[in-house]
Amino acid sequence: MSVATRSVSRRKAPNWLPYLLISPTLIIVLVFTAWPTVQAIYMSFFRQYLNIAKFRTPTFIGLRNYKELFTSPDFLQVLKNTTIYVLGTVPASIVLAFLFALLVNRAVKGIGLARLGFFYPTILPMVSAATIWMFFFTPDYGLFNTFLETFGYHGPENWLGNPHLALLAVMIVAVWKNAGYLMIFYLAGLQNLPEDVFEAASLDGASWWTQLWKIAFPLLRRTTLFVSTIAIIDAFQVVDHIFVMTQGGPSGASTVLLYYLWQVRFEDLNVGLASALTVVLIIIMLSITVTNFVLSEREGA
């Protein structure tokens, strides 16, 4: 009797149980990710300005929003800024994260303090962190300038107001904030590496550098894939510090894609154009993530 029941349930279970188990996630993804995406794609073919009475009702205008985007100098500037921002912050954060992880992976006295120090920026809310950094970047007596002066540097001082430095300034904050977070994943990865491999390598006379580069790094490939994926997504999605530090300025010099999207949607109240921007953002993110995944899988094969 009981055997029969069990076998029945075992046969039936695969039919619904997995779906039931993933359904909460699935529903959340469908409602909060998939559906808005579909909606954004749809709305990107319409003209809708919330702040113009006659254009409040959406009108179909085909690809005009996309045409407007790609002919707008502002948008091209934003794409350029975003490219610099992502290419500048992602590799730097990953390399730093890896170095931090190597540094704190050793069982030295007081290493807990170093770990805390590296991880600390992560638990600080971005808005508070950005506010603190704003004071660091203050011209004349800011900590950052004072720090650079100890190296004999007396260059441009007005970090956030200078069009050539504002983007760099927000990038520095992003790297500082992210590296500690990404370090956690490398640290976890490093601590899971099999000891015997390294022992064997040592016996064979492999240098520290060789061990690191030929053994540890390849073994951490999956971690790197994961870390780079979230780092890239973060780079596109975290713009809180830009709100606090530069408001995208001066003259749009530190405006990146998501900040621009916010401006178009919530300041200009231009729903159609904001939807087109959303679609562009989604396409960029999807292609980067997929490429990243495919490339690293191929390497592994």
Binding site: L50, N51, I52, M134, T138, G161, G249, P250
Partner: protein
């Protein structure tokens, strides 16, 4: 849930009781009932202070059913706004036992507006009241988020007098399409703060023209130690406006017309740049020092700053010297200019008539001279109504802090804050090119011409 129900039962019981009482007592006199827990809905509270001559008795007709209204509210200055407002709400609820006011403190001005937008567009119910930027008027009307307030004003026994008691400069951004859309609440003006001790020491008179301003700034600059003047420009239109107005040409003309490329505006941009490039009295380029400027001034690292009047309290509490306040000098000797800023009460669409009535009552209550004065004293905002300056509290305060009275007197030089259709876009365009000029990426003339072109395009659809 059960808590709510219990509250509802209690309130209903109180209501029923009040009816019985009202039926028993022939004519309830205001002083008859105890002030606390006054059950009668038609009861005015026992006034603890002498009634203000300028204030008419408030209509005491409370809604029959208990009403809860939400007020969304930003905190934009360094003052315990939440605590202050909660105090007013407690007073209000004591007088209006049937109305519950739920304040929702939601970040800065931008956050309040974004939250409300998202709520409305997501099909939710927005709060009945919100404090948003006075300059946001046109976008809010066009988006159909807010309701005009004329009917409520007309329903007052002295509606015209009520409105006329607000300083006209503060009402400038409330009227559109023949209607009144907002009631001034937390308002400020651009202020030139100067170190009066330092001026005296150096034998300099407070400036009364661009030239004397620049000379004073130059004279007071000690390279590497002290700037003659700091003039933040990270979010530049507001602090720039007094320069344009002081040269006889405001940058906004009508809801669909902005004036960026007028020679007088260009000259104003040039003057700002000259302060650093010609007189070397101000940091070069775009100054991201809105947060630091008051502290720099208070500790003597800047002899003058241009900032919000709302920073007065903070500056006075830190500065160890005599602080002077004045409007920004205009180009011609003896002329001055400033511009208003800050937030007004707006009533949002989607509320029931009862809720709207309750919300209006709250606006009336909290803008009374007594509260307007108290709010000004506690926060540093300028009291919105003339009669607030006749209250004994305010008179006493101004005796202690004469600067507060001087700020009010600056209102006569105030021009209208940049407010127009498509404000977000137009303002961003102006910022972009103004900063480009400040940073020397373009000449003032090039920059303002480009700004005008793009702004005209952004306003075209609204004509």
């Amino acid at each position: 849930m059960s808590h709510n129900r219990k509250a509802f039962v209690i309130v209903s019981l109180l209501l029923a009781l009040s009816m019985v009482l009202a039926a028993c007592g022939a004519k309830p006199t205001p002083t008859a009932a105890p002030a606390t827990k006054a059950p009668a809905a038609t009861q005015a509270p026992a006034a603890t202070q002498a009634p203000k001559p300028t204030e008419a008795p408030k209509p005491t007709q409370a809604p029959a059913k208990p009403v809860t209204i939400e007020v969304y509210y930003p905190v934009a200055v360094d003052a315990p706004i939440a605590k202050i407002l909660n105090g007013y709400i407690a007073d209000f609820e004591k007088q209006n036992p049937n109305i519950k006011v739920k304040p929702v403190f939601s970040g800065g001005y931008g956050d309040v507006k974004t939250t409300i937008q998202t709520t409305i567009e997501g099909g939710g119910k927005p709060p009945v009241l919100a404090v948003m930027l006075a300059a946001d008027l046109y976008d809010l009307v066009n988006a159909g988020y807010i309701v005009p307030l004329d009917d409520f004003i007309k329903s007052m026994p002295n509606g015209d007098a009520y409105i006329n008691d607000f300083f006209p400069a503060f009402m400038a951004n409330s009227k559109y399409d023949g209607k009144i859309w907002s009631i001034p609440f937390q308002r400020s003006v651009v202020t030139l703060y100067y170190n009066a001790d330092l001026f005296e020491q150096e034998g300099i008179k407070p400036p009364d023209s661009w030239e004397s301003l620049a000379e004073a700034a130059q004279k007071l600059t000690i390279p590497g130690k002290r700037w003659g003047i700091e003039w933040p420009s990270g979010w530049p239109y507001w602090l720039f406006q007094p320069l344009a107005i002081g040269n006889g040409q405001n940058i906004v003309k009508s809801p669909t017309e902005v004036v960026f490329d007028d020679p007088k505006v260009i000259e104003a941009v040039q003057f700002y740049i000259d302060l650093s490039h010609k007189y070397h009295a101000m940091p070069e380029g775009v100054q991201k020092n809105w947060g630091n400027a008051p502290a720099d001034f208070a500790k003597g690292a800047a002899a003058m700053i241009v900032h919000s009047s709302g920073s007065l309290r903070g500056i006075l509490s830190q500065a160890k010297f005599k602080v002077g306040v004045m409007a920004v000098p205009g180009k011609k000797p003896g002329t001055y200019a400033t511009v208003t800023g800050g937030g007004n009460f707006y009533m949002l669409k989607g509320a029931s008539p009862e809720e709207q009535q309750a919300a209006w009552k709250f606006i009336e209550f909290v803008t009374q001279p007594k509260y307007a004065a108290d709010f000004s004293i506690k926060t540093g905002y300028i009291a919105t109504r003339k009669s607030a300056y006749d209250t004994p509290e305010m008179k006493e305060y101004i005796q202690k802090v004469p600067q507060a009275g001087q700020l009010k007197d600056m209102l006569k030089y105030a021009g209208a804050e940049l407010s127009c259709m498509n404000l977000g876009k137009v303002r961003n365009i102006f910022h972009k090119y103004l900063q480009a000029a400040y940073n020397g990426q373009m000449t003032p003339e090039e920059a303002m011409k480009k700004a005008q072109q793009e702004a005209d395009k952004a306003l075209e659809m609204f004509k």
